[in-house]
């Protein structure tokens, strides 16, 4: 169990900054997910924590011990960090038990103790009796569990997951997700979990760090990330938020303010201390929109109807700004068709805070 601190960490390759000025504090026992589109620097971040890459500037500390800064870097094998690789990285020339017991053998642990620990680790991931198998003879889910057991057996202070479910099929993913959650609950280990799958991150993490082009876009609990995105990138990235141009009409009052959006004037949620301003953006979720033939709203055209089973996703272009696309759900029976004229009401939304410094 340990704390992990990243302090203004930057990693440059030639003239390209893969990770830029990232500061994150992970509390003891916390489950942190690092989420982002591919190429956002999340894997580099993990390799920095593991020690496979050296920071260009900034500092990484594990339990107040500096493990990496611009002066030097503690070798990965001395960091007491466990890692579960995306492709498992099981050694094909060893049995499952040998794979799991490797770190104990390296640490020259007494053989009987080591054997017992391997047995315990196998039991922990429900693989009793498979110790003599070769990794090649296991299914994807079993390999994943071996990889997990292998990393646990050394009792690491910190466990890193590098997109561990990316290579599994959908239904296996759900059960492994449950298993990771149970594992975290049982051991209380600090976990840093890299993924590009939002649902996975939301389901598992205490907090999520969203990365974009090497920078930390937002670090928050899943609920906050969804309801109160800090910037446009996070707003549109998380659950396909709809971004709409807005002018703030009233100051913040009880967490709400009035805005003007495409001719309508809905009341949306906002951060404390918001003041009237022009050129703002609000983020709506599809659940914030509904069809209201009477009353105020946005007139426009239905562009596309995609049936999704039990309902449809409707894509809508407002007449005032045909280049924008709003989407919302209509449950069965689906009555809207492509080309239909509809009036939409914005029931709620979130005013994206002004960028710091602008």
């Amino acid at each position: 169990m340990a704390r992990l601190s990243l302090d203004r960490v930057t990693k440059s390759f030639a003239d390209f900054d893969a990770v830029k000025d990232v500061s994150i504090d992970v509390a003891d026992g916390e489950f942190l997910a690092v989420l982002g589109p591919s190429g956002c620097g999340k894997t580099t971040l993990l390799r920095l924590v593991a020690g496979f890459e050296k920071v260009t500037s900034g500092e990484i500390r594990i339990d107040n011990d500096v493990v990496s800064n611009s002066v030097g870097s503690v070798a990965p094998e001395r960091r007491r960090v466990g890692i579960v690789f995306q492709n498992y990285a099981l050694w094909p020339h060893m049995t499952v038990a040998e794979n799991i017991g490797y770190s104990l053998k390296v640490a020259k642990l007494d053989k009987t103790v080591a054997r017992q620990k391997v047995e315990d680790a196998l039991a922990l991931v429900n693989l009793q009796g498979l110790g003599e198998r070769r990794p090649a003879n296991l299914s994807g889910g079993q390999r994943q569990r071996v990889a997990l057991a292998r990393c646990l057996v050394a009792a690491p202070s910190l466990v890193l997951f590098d997109e561990p479910l990316a290579n599994l099929d959908v239904h296996l993913r759900a059960s492994m997700e449950d298993e990771f959650a149970a594992f975290h609950k049982r051991t209380g280990t600090t976990i840093v979990y890299i993924t590009h799958d939002q649902a996975e991150a939301m389901a598992l993490a205490d907090r999520i760090a969203v990365m974009d082009h090497g920078r930390l876009a937002q670090l928050a609990a899943p609920r906050e990330l969804y309801h109160e995105p800090a910037n446009e990138m996070v707003a549109s990235f998380i659950s396909q938020g709809i971004l709409l141009p807005a002018d703030v009409l009233t100051g913040e009052d009880g967490g709400h303010c009035k805005v003007r959006v495409l001719g309508t004037e809905p009341v949306v949620r906002c951060g404390p201390g918001e003041r009237p301003r022009a050129g703002a953006k609000i983020c709506c979720r599809s659940a914030d929109l509904d069809v209201s033939p009477d009353g105020p709203g946005l007139d426009g055209l239905v562009k596309r109807v995609i049936y999704r089973g039990g309902g449809a996703r409707i894509e809508f272009a407002p007449a005032a700004r045909p280049d924008l696309t709003l989407h919302f759900e209509q449950p069965d029976p689906v009555t809207l068709g492509s080309g239909a004229q509809v009036r939409l009401r914005i029931r709620s939304g979130w005013l994206i805070p002004a960028e710091a410094g602008s």
Binding site: F52, V67, V71, V74, R80, W91, S103, V106, R150
Partner: protein, 567 residues
């Protein structure tokens, strides 16, 4: 905490330094020593050696001959190798893997064995021609003792080398490029001439350069075919000078060997310049093109391919076996004359031959073993290190193999003529100097497959071990070595096969008591005892065959392209 931050690189430093020492000892030191001998013989800067070499007419005649057989042999190899590569890769010819295996075989056979086999086929004493009573009368000159004979055999020996490189290039040719041309209305032959061959220019150029360097540096073929006709190339000139003059003429031969090195380098540079003139890069990757249907031509093409293989492989080997079975020069083979005496003689009776078998076997085993041990850490640095200077390391290891063997042999002689400073051990005139040269020359043969082995391993396997707390040396032993071992060992076996009947280096370095198989074979042939030479050749060819079969067992664990004869 600062100490902990810094000490973590310790083992990597040790590894890097150890690898650097090995590379300096094996490849940079001999090359530098050779250059010093030319520029500053005896320690002072002087152009005497160069001037003396330039004045001698023998130098110019041998240089001319070297260029003639080098260019001729390379041209023949490029023509035949490219033709076979195109037919095998782009048409629906049948029995492809057997064809490839047989066509590439001559590459696995030592050049002097090839020379001997062909000599036995066409000479007046040929047991093969005698079978039909077609042998020319005794005393007739063997037609292979000539310039064209040398060029022909060099072409046969190195055609497969060209074949392998061009075939590798053809395999990467995306089928869309061919299909687009055919959709545009081009016939298959037009596609071949206007699309395929132009795109293959880099492969063909590289193959031509490699074939040229190999032909220029070849010792076995011009030694067996040229010395009797007094047609000397630079390697055989060096051999004759050293054999006649001993260490006294070492300075002179050093100049000659640098001359060969320059000619070889010129070949490689010419290839670089030619390939750079146009952009031949193939950007997309895709499946190879559908094979062209030869239709009614298929049977004819197939038959001529096999005829070619019978001509360049089976007939010469057959002639070699026949010669090894007759009791003496010029005797026809019959049920009455057939004998195994030649084998008994070289295996059990002749002292030098006995020693040669013993020496060559342990030299080859030692060189192969050492190369495997060294190739794993060196390959680790070259394949996985992020540092740029590591590429220079790769170049340094390639050098002793890329340059003709004569160059390394002379360099080793210069290096060890006097006892090694400080420790005072004398390597000159012992078998150890041959071992040193073998280690330096053949290391790259194990390194190349090892590096391609590394490229196929997921680095995460090592990183996982690192996360488990294993230091570099532990990871090397428990994770990395087991994973690259098949590739490295296959490379070691290639070294064993190459070193077993090696002649170029040992012909210049041997001394009484440290004969190798190649050297004894050569002296048998020079003394007119072709039957004994043939018997030794048959034994080494048989050992090579058996080893190839053994290596085939490793195939499931090997990266593709490690074994030249596997399709």
């Amino acid at each position: 905490m600062p100490t902990r931050l810094r000490e973590s690189q310790g083992q990597e430093m040790v590894l890097t330094v150890a690898v650097a020492i090995v590379i300096v000892l094996l490849s940079l030191l001999p090359m530098l020593r050779l250059v010093r001998e030319i520029v500053a013989p005896g320690g002072t800067l002087s152009a005497v050696a160069i001037a003396a070499g330039l004045r001698s007419p023998a130098t110019w005649i041998a240089t001319w001959h070297t260029l003639v057989v080098g260019i001729g042999g390379a041209l023949l190899a490029v023509l035949s190798g490219t033709l076979v590569a195109v037919l095998v890769s782009l048409t629906d010819i049948r029995g492809r893997s057997a064809l490839v295996l047989c066509y590439v075989m001559p590459l696995m056979i030592a050049p002097q064995v090839t020379a001997l086999a062909w000599l036995q086929l066409f000479g007046p004493a040929s047991p093969f021609l005698k079978l039909f009573g077609a042998a020319p009368p005794l005393g007739t000159k063997n037609p292979l003792y000539s310039t064209s004979g040398i060029i022909l055999l060099l072409g046969v020996q190195y055609g497969p080398l060209v074949f392998l490189l061009v075939r590798a290039g053809l395999r990467k040719l995306p089928r869309e490029l061919v299909e687009a041309a055919r959709a545009g209305g081009a016939s298959w032959f037009t596609v071949l001439v206007t699309i395929v061959l132009p795109l293959m220019t880099p492969s063909i150029m590289a193959a031509a350069a490699l074939a040229f360097v190999s032909c220029v540096g070849n010792f076995g073929i011009p030694a067996f075919l040229g010395i009797p006709a007094n047609y000397l190339v630079l390697p055989t000139l060096i051999y004759q000078k050293l054999a006649g003059g001993g260490p006294a003429v070492l300075g002179e031969t050093a100049f000659l060997s640098v001359l060969i090195g320059i000619i070889a380098m010129a070949g490689i540079l010419a290839q670089e310049v030619m390939s750079r003139r146009r952009d031949y890069r193939i950007s997309s990757t895709s499946l190879p093109a559908e094979p062209y249907e030869l239709g009614r031509w298929r049977a004819i093409v197939q038959a001529s391919m096999w005829l070619l293989i019978v001509l360049v492989l089976f007939l010469p080997l057959f002639g070699l076996v026949l010669t090894s079975l007759v009791p003496g020069y010029g005797i026809a083979l019959s049920a009455k004359t057939v004998t195994l005496d030649n084998y008994r003689f070289v295996l059990f009776e002749h002292d030098a031959a006995n020693r040669a078998f013993f020496n060559s076997f342990w030299l080859s085993i030692a060189a192969a073993f050492f190369a495997v041990i060294v190739a794993v850490p060196v390959g680790y640095l070259i394949a996985w290190s992020k540092q740029r200077w590591v590429r220079l390391l790769n170049l340094a290891v390639e050098l002793p193999y890329a340059l003709p063997g004569v160059v390394l042999a002379i360099a080793s002689l210069l290096l060890f003529l006097r006892p090694i400073p400080l420790i005072g051990i004398q390597l000159y005139n012992t078998v150890w100097i041959i071992l040193y040269a073998y280690l330096a020359r053949f290391l790259v043969l194990a390194l190349r497959p090892t590096i391609s082995g590394y490229h196929q391993i997921d680095r995460a396997l090592e990183e996982a071990a690192q996360m488990a707390g294993a230091g570099l040396f532990t990871r090397m032993r428990t994770i990395i070595f087991p994973l690259v071992a098949p590739a490295a060992i296959a490379g070691g076996l290639l070294i064993f096969m190459t070193a077993l009947s090696e002649l170029t280096v040992s012909a210049l370095l041997w001394s009484s008591g440290s004969e190798t198989i190649g050297v004894v074979m050569f002296s048998f042939e020079q003394g007119g005892d072709s039957n004994y030479a043939a018997a030794m050749s048959v034994i080494t060819v048989a050992v090579t065959f058996v080893l190839m079969l053994v290596i085939n067992l490793l195939v499931p664990h090997l990266p593709s392209g490690v074994l030249p004869w596997r399709d």
